[in-house]
Assembly symmetry: D2
Homo-oligomer: 375 residues x 4
């Protein structure tokens, strides 16, 4: 693991997620850009001293020198955005598969460069867009894909948070600090941090691609350097239209990500706060409530479920689904087996580039007086 030392949030989530299904063991790390902190973090995590590295370059270099059956199988990179490209590139080129936290990189150019490297190295690459790991999100995607709700006409996706309602970054809160710092986060704040999640969710569930957008991008908290709020009108490649809303100044909101997709025959609705429920509505029939663990679900939902219906699975399980599917895919490739389609259903390079393109376009649109921008 690269990053995720003390004070980090997403690193701990990655570790729990990776551990959950007994497919993955954490054996080496460079847990901080500060060598001393890296050391202490690794010790706290029980990493053997000789594999508790002071920096990622050392880790990748040294691990690559170990015999194949002794070295790490893949690298998880959970650093701030500005430390995504280099370690990913290095890991891929040294022959390691990679799990990378979103967004893919600091810039679209970097993302495209990484894509080439993944293509050339033929490594397995996973980008942790958490929400598509939820079984009911997968169920929604499959139902849309199968035409159950007809031709898609409208997509609403939203991600309201309230935690940046005040100038939290001025208090040295680490999460707020780097996310609002253009040198670490890139050109976007809320749009990069959660807008990309909403965007990814919209394209995943709708099985469509955005072709045009028109954005209202705002900085609501005085003194902040990056956007903390935005709304985007969308056009999709089949002619559907959509709305994406993402805000970090939605006072009182937690992580209330929600998606609704409307077709000619019906619609699907999913919301993280009731993550094990998928509402499926019809033109004139009772709404159906699909639930995680229901025997009627698609193989994509069932494969990603651990407990019987009614015992809620949550965020960590959704995250773990990506790790598990990534690990199953990696193992299959190692064994020269064909991964199942359900295993391959994790976000990768294509989703990463789409996300970076979203960031670039949405910020450009926010600054533009032209209404519609091509994606």
């Amino acid at each position: 693991m690269i990053g995720g030392g003390e004070g980090a949030f997403i690193g701990a989530v990655h570790r729990i997620a990776a551990r959950m299904d007994n497919e993955i063991e954490l054996v080496a790390g460079a847990f901080s850009s500060n060598a001393q902190k890296a050391k202490l973090s690794g010790e706290a995590l029980g990493i053997a001293p000789e594999r508790n590295y002071p920096d990622y370059a050392t880790m990748i270099t040294k691990e690559a020198l170990l015999p194949a059956n002794k070295r790490i199988h893949f690298v998880s990179i959970v650093t701030p955005n500005h430390v995504h490209f280099e370690p990913t590139k290095m890991a891929l080129e040294k022959g390691f598969d990679v799990v990378l936290d979103k967004p893919m990189t600091l810039t679209l150019a970097e993302a495209k460069a990484l894509a080439v490297i993944v293509e050339n190295t033929q490594r397995t690459f996973c980008l942790t867009h958490t929400y598509t790991g939820y079984p009911m999100v997968k169920q929604a995607k499959q139902m849309v894909l199968n035409g159950t709700i007809g031709e898609i006409r409208k997509v609403y996706v939203e991600y309201p948070q309230g935690w940046l309602s005040t100038n939290l970054e001025s208090t040295n809160q680490k999460q707020a600090a780097w996310r609002t710092d253009p040198t670490k986060s890139g050109i976007a704040g809320a749009m990069g941090d959660i807008g990309t999640h909403a965007f990814n969710l919209a394209e995943y569930v709708s099985n469509l691609q955005v072709t045009k957008l028109c954005a209202d991008i705002n900085i609501k908290v005085p003194g902040r350097l990056l956007d903390d709020d935005g709304a985007v009108l969308l056009k999709f490649n089949n002619g559907a239209s959509g709305v994406l809303m993402a805000t970090q100044i939605g006072a009182g909101e937690e992580n209330n990500v929600k998606i609704r997709v409307f077709g000619t025959l019906g619609s699907v609705e999913w919301q993280q706060q009731d993550a094990n429920t998928l509402a499926v509505r019809w033109l004139d029939a009772p709404t159906q409530i699909y639930r995680t663990g229901g025997g009627y679900n698609s193989s994509y939902a069932s494969h990603n479920t651990r407990t019987p219906a009614g015992h809620p699975e949550g965020y960590l399980e959704a995250f773990a689904n990506h790790y598990r599917n990534f690990a199953l895919t990696v193992k299959a490739k190692l064994n020269n087996e064909m991964p199942l389609p359900e295993w391959l259903d994790f976000p990768g390079v294509a989703e990463g580039i789409r996300g970076m393109q979203f960031i670039e376009r949405v910020i450009e649109s926010g600054n533009s007086s032209t209404k519609w921008l091509d994606f």
Copy 2:
């Protein structure tokens, strides 16, 4: 009453609403533009034959000739949009107060002309934007007005319906037919029918005014002549931003109007499907659930509540609140008394003009390649 004969929807709603609080009795009507149908409808409603008029002009003229204590006190106009201006004008000028179904008129020009007549005649005028009649919507407005949730930064308002997902107008369904006919509905379809409700709700609860907008306006059902879907980015006079979503092709949605207003300190959320609940969220305190009938509510909410908490009040009661407040105001004026502020809290001319301006601007924006249009 003018309009609301057999086959109509909103006329029956108006009658129940007017009747509910025993302040108003229906004694005369011109219930259809078809004289025969008007006659039958009036008979079915138990109207005395001599006051069951063949057309509105006759009604207004004849009623105006009756002695003051024998004639109607006010007129309810529940016709399609293209028959709003003339009967309202005539009624006002003949000395009658008016309750008018929204939107105010067919065009903004008509609305402005009516405003002048209301001003000149000093009659009482109510425009039935139903949703602001709900006690918990009034509670939300008062809490925002009192600064409870701080300075407003963001408004989300949405009104998804699914009933026009198919080409219902081609089946001669009366409600669908006139609402999708530009000669009867005006330049807007969904935006006029439900977009205006959402717009009114947003300005009412936020206590703000829209100053700019950017709209995506669509016709989703082939062959339809007016918009059946749209989304609008908003800017408000205090710098807040917002999103308005209204669709009639949201397959499976009923009348799912919802509003969220975010301030610097907290936020409020109300949704018609759980109409007696107002969620109030805070930066870091438990969410509070205000409920119709709670002893802690404002006088504006309490005044508009009929039953103890937990016995749900609904759409008809919200509608009736406008009628009751209108009636209390009219009676107070008749008695040369000052109406209470709670009574005066019903939509009138100002809201009507705002709504018509919204329709004109939102359609203009939908057709424009310029991003932001001044309101």
Copy 3:
């Protein structure tokens, strides 16, 4: 109307309910046992002085002397329980139909006596068990009746309230005072006031009858004279078992009546706080959400619906459904027509006697050390 003067709660509800559908007009009343208060209340309601009676005996006697086309068609009796039997008896015997608030009488013996009178006079009699007036409760009953969820095995019904959590009666709150006074309420407090509602709802939806019960009956607030809390184990005539819970000391609860009926194939769940929703669950299929106004509903639900789906109907509409069905039945009989089955679906004598029997048995069981008592 008898009772329902100022300070009363349920009288006003009856009046709104009666008025809602334009079938019924309030023209006479004896609104209080206090003649002066009766007079003032009648004046406030706009009753003609000559029909604003000082007491119910005068009203019934005088109205009976009027010619058939001038007198009242029926009497609504909304007094406390100890003033149910006499006015009902008198009204029936003088030839008036009766709407009576629940529970039917002060004692079971009175209820049985009234039943004989109804039978002998062949008058139409309605007992206002509100909750069976909700469209989705009717839908649930019909689905159970049609075998949709199989053979019924289990019934849970509950009615928690919190308003009597303190010794409210000591503050002269009128509603609390008579409900906790054995001379006015009878032998039961909570069990009579809301337990009977829960019991009626259980038998109505399940289409079953209770045959045995075992009750835990409590007085939780010191100094109170009647039960304010209870729970009852039930056995039904088909072998199903059930639980009935009713409390008035459920601090923070409003009027949270809820029923769940489980069959061999599925189950139905309805709750007043989400009154327009009926959840229908299946052994292994997605839960279905039936909604008021849905085109798929039974004729019993549709007949009792006034607004399109999504515009919530509530408690007053449920109440009004009983009045409307009663009025339609009365009119049909007057016209020598056969009332539709949907019209006849309001609570009457049979439900009244069952309710009184429930009160007697449940209190007896509460005082007994024997487990099961025959109903």
Copy 4:
């Protein structure tokens, strides 16, 4: 680990829960009473061959012979009820701490005997009553303990499931088979399997103890040998009363465990299907919604939370909380440190005995014609 081989449900849950927080590693096991199946299961789990034991006696004996730093630190026992007592006894006596799945044993006598052994050996013992591991359940307990909602008057607890609505045991479904077999499950079916969970939850949240009960215990599915449904009236040691409902024939229900505790000042409500929410209601103030991750929560809730508010935690995390607290306690003891009160908040011997006593009494009451039985 003892038990939990292929086809088992709860063993896999235990493994994920134990693994989640990186405190515990699975290194040895006797995964089935069938030696061949045990071997295969252990191999699938990656257990070293020499520690993949054919039966629990061998495992305990051999592990006890290993040096302290090489042997297992504790044993997880996840077998059916009839294989709880012997391995637990043996493990404790050989010096191992134990995590045991509920209910504690096959009989109350066994539970009492185990309690003596735990006392004598001074080992750490955890009984996995999952639901008290949820942060919001802990929050509820603490609020009740602190008197926030006043003196407790009423407790409603319920656990409806539907999975045994049919004679599933006749299809050789392993979970159904042993749970409905008296030789493996003991004298109770539903009451032992889920009634004990409900009972434990009620005593935990209310901070009270049941002193009397009156039960209706049923076998609803023909041919079944143990109860699949029951309801119990309860009396608590402070005079509060309660109702416990547990059924496995609630067709369409998942694992819908719910608890409501009413005090003189307010009430708390928690339901597994919305596990990160705790509703706190007041006599006349808005209901408050406490949420997992809220900064306002007690240390007991916060300590048991892994993710920020709004990222749902679920059943596996609740389960993991018990494992983590057990592990922290074991480690503290190993280090001669005092465990924090928050760590000690996991179910143990006392809860195990209460649960077994509940099973014996509730079945006795079900067969009795006496109303109240002392607990």
